[in-house]
């Protein structure tokens, strides 16, 4: 089945030159529209990020130090890894509330298998990742086959996973992991902390997938109009299951990072991250109704949240006022985002 050969008789009934209906006219208008197109390529919230960044550079002498910038990178790594999964799901028009609990459950499962069941650490680590992917798979099956609204399906698994994470050790953290594992978050490659490298790698791989691989591009189509996608032969259910599973796996990866950083698996880790993860994606310009959003935007959203938290710590903003500032800045950053404000009414 080859691409249709256009040497076939042109069926066009008219032989007269095509009278361009929308053909762009003057060179000037082409230029304007190219400029607009380039501008519209810039993720809107980037401007917000730049403003925050510049302001903090003036306000705190410590902000612009390489050390601090690298700290920010490692501080956002866990939320960042999860936000990649969250973006994929949000692109499909779904949502994943279970991400924080999955982080805790997979970290606790790994630790329990290593310290309590006595498995070799590498096996336990793999098992932890599998647990995360498995919860994601359940989310996928519940939404794709059970046809539950993703909010409900993942609320259910969120609740269940959080309970199980506590149940394993009755709330006790588990500590004492191999050195090489702890080193993951304590070592730098060329001055960049490994967790930062992992974060950027995951973003890059996912961005490549979304942009260049048919199965990744399909997410936009499915999120944009599921029925059109289905009739175009895209495997809608399989994509959903795949994406929820990936998100579960990424939450498990984030769990490993947190566990490694503290040398401690904690049953309530990640619980506070849920809103942050979704906020990062939405600040990054993705629409919760699906079909639009980018990893570049998500990365900007991640940095906005990360830089903001870091900056307020450095400035010693009163703990009670920090949330007020965060709220105001989020609203302001997104209000300036002409692109997303134009798109979503």
């Amino acid at each position: 089945m080859a691409i249709i050969d256009r040497n076939m008789t042109p069926p066009r009934p008219d032989s007269s030159p095509a009278h361009g209906e929308v053909a762009p006219t003057s060179a000037a208008s082409v230029n304007t529209s190219r400029f607009r197109r380039i501008m519209s390529q810039i993720p809107g919230p980037l401007i917000g990020l730049i403003v925050i960044f510049v302001a903090l550079s003036f306000l705190s002498p410590y902000f612009l130090t390489p050390r601090n910038l690298l700290n920010i990178l490692s501080q956002v790594s866990a939320v960042g890894v999860m936000s990649v999964g969250a973006l994929l799901i949000i692109l499909l028009g779904g949502i994943d509330l279970s991400v924080g609990s999955v982080l805790a459950l997979s970290s606790m499962s790994m630790a329990a298998m290593y310290k309590m069941a006595g498995w070799p650490f590498e096996v336990a680590l793999l098992a932890g990742l599998i647990v995360g992917a498995l919860v994601g798979l359940i989310n996928g099956i519940l939404t794709a086959y059970g046809k539950l609204q993703p909010f409900i399906a993942t609320l259910a698994t969120m609740s269940a996973a959080a309970g199980l994470a506590l149940f394993i050790t009755n709330g006790n953290p588990i500590t004492g992991f191999p050195d090489w594992f702890i080193a993951i978050t304590a070592t730098s490659i060329l001055g960049i902390p490994i967790e930062g490298v992992i974060l950027v790698a995951i973003f890059a791989i996912a961005a490549f997938w979304l942009k260049f691989r048919p199965s990744g591009r399909a997410l936009y189509a499915i999120g944009g109009n599921e029925e059109v996608a289905r009739l175009s032969g895209l495997p809608v259910r399989r994509a959903k299951i795949l994406v929820y599973t990936i998100a579960g796996l990424l939450a498990a990866v984030a769990g490993l990072l947190v566990t490694s950083r503290l040398d401690s698996a904690q049953p309530t880790a990640g619980a506070a991250d849920l809103l942050n993860v979704i906020a990062v994606v939405v600040i990054g310009g993705a629409s919760l109704s699906g079909g639009s959003g980018s990893l570049l935007g998500t990365f900007v959203g991640l940095l906005i949240i990360g830089v903001l938290n870091n900056g307020m710590s450095l400035l010693n903003v009163s703990a009670n006022l920090q949330p007020v500032v965060i709220g105001a800045v989020i609203a302001a950053a997104v209000l300036t985002d002409r692109k997303s404000s134009r798109r979503h009414t």
Partner: protein, 308 residues
């Protein structure tokens, strides 16, 4: 059945058919877990049935649960309130239903509810003692940071108050950073990273819980900052290890296991009509565990034998 708590299913209990209801703030933080462990141990010994309800740190939910305990007609209620100001509502419900109530850890601040007894750590005193010790470690002059619990929680307020009391005696100690890390080690790690960056001359960090002190100490270790003092309150077994290893310097160990045992023992006395001689207020000691005495203190004494 797997959905019934170990106590309910345990073999030797229930002979006398009496039940103690427990309303506990949560079953996530180790302090409460250890207290409930202690209660279970004591109840087993006395042959009492326990009904344990955990409120997930939600005061409103906790009042609902006290209601549910009353519905089940338990004989005594042991109440670990989520919050001291909202505790009165639960006490009032129990009083109205004529069920004696033993308060542990938090005491109602308002209302005129009657408690059979109140068993607690004096958190304000503990924090004051700990902070004083910490200031002395760096000569009573310099910058410190405080990592607070969830803002507005009673434990956070009392521990902050205690440290403020100590600060009043040390005019040369300056709090240069104060941030809430919500009892959470990960958050404390991040917060400490930033605080350390912004305060090159920092001398010490007071974590209002052990987990936060540990998170802060690990952040400093990763940044290669040495010579700082890290202290916490709780006395978790992991903190004992950290103190022994020199990662952290001190913890104020509470005795939740013992408090749990004591509360059930008192409840049993009350249920059997012998509650008259129980003192109304029973403060439990806290123990300052430092590098010097850590070897002499068995963590199991504080958090029970089950502690992993």
């Amino acid at each position: 059945s797997p959905t019934v708590s170990p106590t309910g299913a345990s073999g030797n209990g229930n002979e006398n058919g009496k039940t103690i209801g427990i309303a506990v703030a949560d079953q996530k933080s180790l302090f409460y877990v250890a207290a409930v462990d202690g209660m279970e141990q004591a109840a087993d010994e006395a042959g009492y049935k326990l009904v344990t309800l955990s409120a997930n740190n939600n005061s409103g939910q906790q009042v609902n649960q006290v209601q549910d305990l009353i519905t089940q007609q338990v004989d005594v209620i042991i109440f670990i309130a989520q919050d001291a100001t909202s505790a009165a509502a639960g006490v009032k419900l129990a009083n109205d239903a004529g069920i004696p109530i033993v308060a542990v850890d938090q005491k109602p601040e308002s209302g005129n509810g009657k408690l059979a007894t109140y068993i607690a750590t004096d958190s304000v005193a503990a924090a004051e003692k700990l902070c004083t010790w910490m200031f002395d470690q760096f000569g009573g002059a310099g910058d410190i940071a405080i990592l607070q619990g969830p803002l507005g929680s009673t434990a956070e307020l009392q521990r902050s108050e205690g440290c403020a009391n100590a600060l009043a005696n040390y005019p040369d100690v300056k709090v240069v950073a104060q941030e809430s890390a919500g009892w959470d080690e990960t958050k404390a790690f991040t917060a400490a990273q930033n605080i350390l960056t912004a305060n090159p001359n920092l001398k010490a960090i007071f974590g209002e819980s052990d987990a936060m002190a540990l998170g802060a100490a690990k952040a400093a270790q990763q940044e290669g900052r040495t010579g700082l003092v890290f202290v916490g309150i709780d006395g978790f077994p992991t903190m004992f290890t950290a103190v022994a290893d020199g990662l952290t310097q001190a913890t104020m160990a509470q005795q939740p296991y013992l408090m749990g045992q004591l509360s059930v023992q008192d409840a049993v006395k009350i249920a059997e009509g012998n509650g008259g001689d129980i003192p109304k207020l029973q403060y439990q000691d806290t123990v300052l565990v430092t590098g010097e005495n850590v070897a002499d203190n068995d963590p199991a004494k504080f958090y029970g034998p089950d502690f992993k």
